[in-house]
Amino acid sequence: MTDVSDTPDLSGDRGFQNVREGFYKATFFAFAAATVLTTVGIFLVLFVDAIGFFAAYSPIDFLTGFDWSPSLEPVSFGVLPLVFGTLVVTFTAAIIAIPVGTLTAVYLSEYAAPRTRAILKPLLEILAGVPTVIYGFFALVYVTPVIEFFFPGVSTFNVLSASLMVGIMTIPMVSSISEDAMSAVPDSLRQAGYGMGATKYEVTTDIIVPAATSGIVSSYILAISRAIGETMIVTVAMGMQSSIPTVQTATVFGIGIPFVHPGEVFLGSGQTMTAAMVQIANSDIAGGTLAYKSLFAIGLTLFAITLLMNVISNIISERYREEY
């Protein structure tokens, strides 16, 4: 048999082992560095073609133009209708997701029995995990008829159904991060509040929520950034026509008040930046053309906005965190 002995090997000959240790460390470092390369790759890919685009098309016209028609002659690459579409979707989604998500977080963290939590949390995870293309299908096929019941003039592809769906989808983003922040508030603060004679409502709204503000706000920013980057819901359910509403004037007591008709904004079709990217990528526009390069210009705009929001969210949650 082998020479397994009880005397330990203390010769200190670790030559082979040192090589092996170094090999593993270098490999794992390479994997970690790959994530940095991904970021660099995103920057380079977006910049190279975006610069090509801006060399041929004035950035001023891009940022201030009111007309987006990349494939119809004469082509025009005004990004404002797309920005408007994105803003409408994001704003509507935030109106749903922020209050509902915050209340959900409060309920999960302060009110729910452990049993309810154990059921509700996985369900919310599933809500967050449903593929967005399926939400888009839901918005188009099931939500739009409901809207049609209330507003018969709604078009099949409409902004409202997509925005509502994006809102529902972002609820778990707000609730999970906010709930983490609220659960992290130490129990001694709650007990102190009760000791002062505060009700549960007062403890929740006057102690827990203020103490968790940094986490709650950063969850809002992340959810908004997610809504801005959301692609498939708006591609499927919103239609593929960029639009910007006309400003009308209502005369009240002889004074002209400009306004935008909400029906025009929500019940017609629209297009976001992300949906425009999908449309270009999916059409037979050849590589190297201006329309193809505009893809990367929008991508860069989108990347810059979401990156900025993520960084702000990180700073808020780092800097304004209450330390206990």
Binding site: T27, A34, T39, Y107, I134, A281, F303, L307, M309
Partner: protein
């Protein structure tokens, strides 16, 4: 009012608090209720449940409910200890079928001979060498085994085109699949008992040979499909049931769960057809799952998209798991925390957090610019799709793996170092085994996200419909979400209203079962920890 203690305290109004609590509760369920409504609608559409008459439902409910509720009641009231046995017995057969499907696809992509050769010349010798050296506690075991495996792979690579004669497919499949499976069963079920091990191995292999002859006659599949079904479906089911029965602890009623489930569904359908006038008209059936795509709604199928998704997910699983766990190990175990190195580490961490927030459509542009335009891989092929989605979920995998590794207590590491173990030995023997459940949970959740991603695939030019499943890593690919996307846009309303719901339900079932698996793993892990 002398003598009273008037503090001006007139009782606390509970109204505001109650309204707030009620609002919070309602808000928490809002999203879930909306999702439940949408899921109900899509299931009704996918299975054509709207077409069935009330009588059919009444009959179906009675036929299904009576046996099922009776059995469930018995389990809950009399034998609550059997609930996990019942769950496992019910889950293993369908899981085995899914596994068989995956194997079937793998053997479709690469000929059985490919597996046979690499298994015989590379994997088997490597395992044997590893076992030999590891049993002598030689620390060089993995290195030598790796060298042997690489040598074997190189030999196979050069020899493969030269060999003209090969064994019959079912013999090769028995050699590649059934014998290792039998060895595993023998090892796990009869440790130390040589005689019983030999019996188990012999019985397994005999079953495999028998399956390849009986399968074609009995259920009309080819002999190699029969062996795959045997190895992935029959063996696990037989193993689990056999293991429970051989313990002789009276747990057999738990094993009846799948029988009761199938039986009551059959009884429900039979009674429904007997009483009701019209049954449901399901779109989502076997034909839908196995047909190729078609321009005629009635013939439309999801098969190429399913195979495409399997291909893509296979690449994503391997790449994101290896790179993600490696990066997490570096960040948690190796990365310096101070000085210049510490700055780099912090930069990598912040960078990963930001990458997790980049919209998926931007990753699509990265894939398009990097893999297609720069490296020159084809538009919309399997490899590009897999690599792009790997990059997309990498941050999620890394973050969850980091959490799992961080949750391993520091004192076990210190104990390992105190015993003289090196850093890598500590990671491999102490840290990773404890972190594996958490790592797996995070990876599966990330994969379930990858399987539903659509936008990046559209950006890299993947086709929304391909009419044949992919045959290799360089062929054009579609995926389930892309197919759903295509159908929800189709001009023919039949595609939107009938076919798309069936695709949606298929995709949801796949995604939800991955989620359930992850949640199960996590709960099990939390119980043990």
């Amino acid at each position: 009012m002398a003598g009273t203690n008037d503090t001006g305290f007139s009782g606390v109004s509970r109204r505001r608090g109650r309204i707030f609590a009620g609002l919070a509760k309602a808000a928490s369920w809002l999203g879930v209720v909306v999702l439940a409504w949408l899921l109900l609608m899509v299931v009704i559409d996918a299975f054509g449940l709207g077409a069935a008459s009330t009588g059919w439902y009444l009959g179906g409910l009675v036929g299904f409910g009576v046996p099922f509720v009776g059995y469930a009641g018995y389990l809950v009231l009399r034998r609550p200890d059997l609930r996990w046995t019942a769950v496992r017995a019910t889950v293993i057969p369908p899981a085995g079928l899914i596994f068989a499907g995956a194997l079937f696809v793998l053997f479709l992509v690469f000929e059985p001979f490919f597996w046979f050769l690499y298994y015989s010349v590379a994997i088997l010798p490597a395992v044997a060498v590893y076992g030999h050296f590891a049993s002598r506690e030689d620390t060089r075991a993995p290195l030598i085994a790796g060298a042997v495996g690489l040598l074997g792979a190189a030999i196979s690579f050069f020899v493969e085109p030269l060999i003209g004669i090969m064994p019959l497919p079912w013999i090769m499949l028995n050699w590649v699949l059934v014998i290792p499976a039998g060895a595993l069963i023998a090892y796990r079920q009869a440790t130390g008992n040589r005689g019983r091990q030999a019996t188990l191995l012999g019985a397994t292999v005999a079953g495999g040979v028998l399956a390849s002859f009986v399968g074609p006659v009995l259920i009309g599949v080819t002999s190699d499909t029969a062996v795959i079904l045997y190895a992935a479906f029959v063996l696990p089911v037989a193993w689990y049931n056999g293991a429970v029965l051989s313990k002789n602890t009276g747990d057999w009623p738990g094993l009846l769960a799948p029988v009761v489930a199938i039986g009551s569904i059959a009884a429900g359908i039979a009674l429904g057809d007997f009483i009701g006038t019209a049954g449901p008209d399901p779109v989502l059936d076997w034909q839908f799952l196995t047909n190729n795509a078609s321009t005629i709604p009635a013939d439309a199928g999801l098969f190429p998209a399913i195979v495409g998704s399997v291909f893509i997910i296979a690449i994503v699983a391997i790449v994101s798991f290896v790179v993600g766990v490696g990066a997490a190990i570096y960040l948690e175990e190796y990365a310096p925390q101070t000085g210049l190195g510490g700055t780099i580490t912090r930069f990598i961490r912040v960078n990963i957090a930001n990458l997790a927030g980049v919209p998926s459509v931007v990753y699509g542009l990265l894939g398009l610019g990097l893999f297609v335009n720069l490296i020159g891989m084809g538009l919309g092929i399997v490899l590009v799709a897999g690599l792009t989605l790997s990059l997309l979920i990498l941050p999620i995998v890394i973050i969850s793996a980091q959490e799992a590794i961080r949750s391993v207590p520091e004192d076990v590491r210190q104990a390992s170092y105190g015993m003289g173990a090196t850093r890598w030995q500590t990671i491999r023997n102490v840290v990773l085994p404890r972190a594996v459940p958490g790592v797996l949970t995070g990876t599966i959740l990330a994969l379930s996200r990858a399987i539903g991603e659509t936008a990046p695939l559209l950006m890299i030019g993947a086709a929304t419909t391909v009419f044949r499943p992919p045959t290799g890593f360089a062929s054009q690919v579609s995926a389930m979400p892309l197919q759903v996307f295509y159908w929800s846009f189709h001009q023919k309303s039949a595609f939107r209203e009938l076919i798309a719901p069936a695709g949606v339900v298929t995709l949801l079932v796949v995604m939800l079962s991955m989620n359930v698996l992850a949640i199960y793993l996590r709960n099990r892990y939390e119980r043990n920890a």
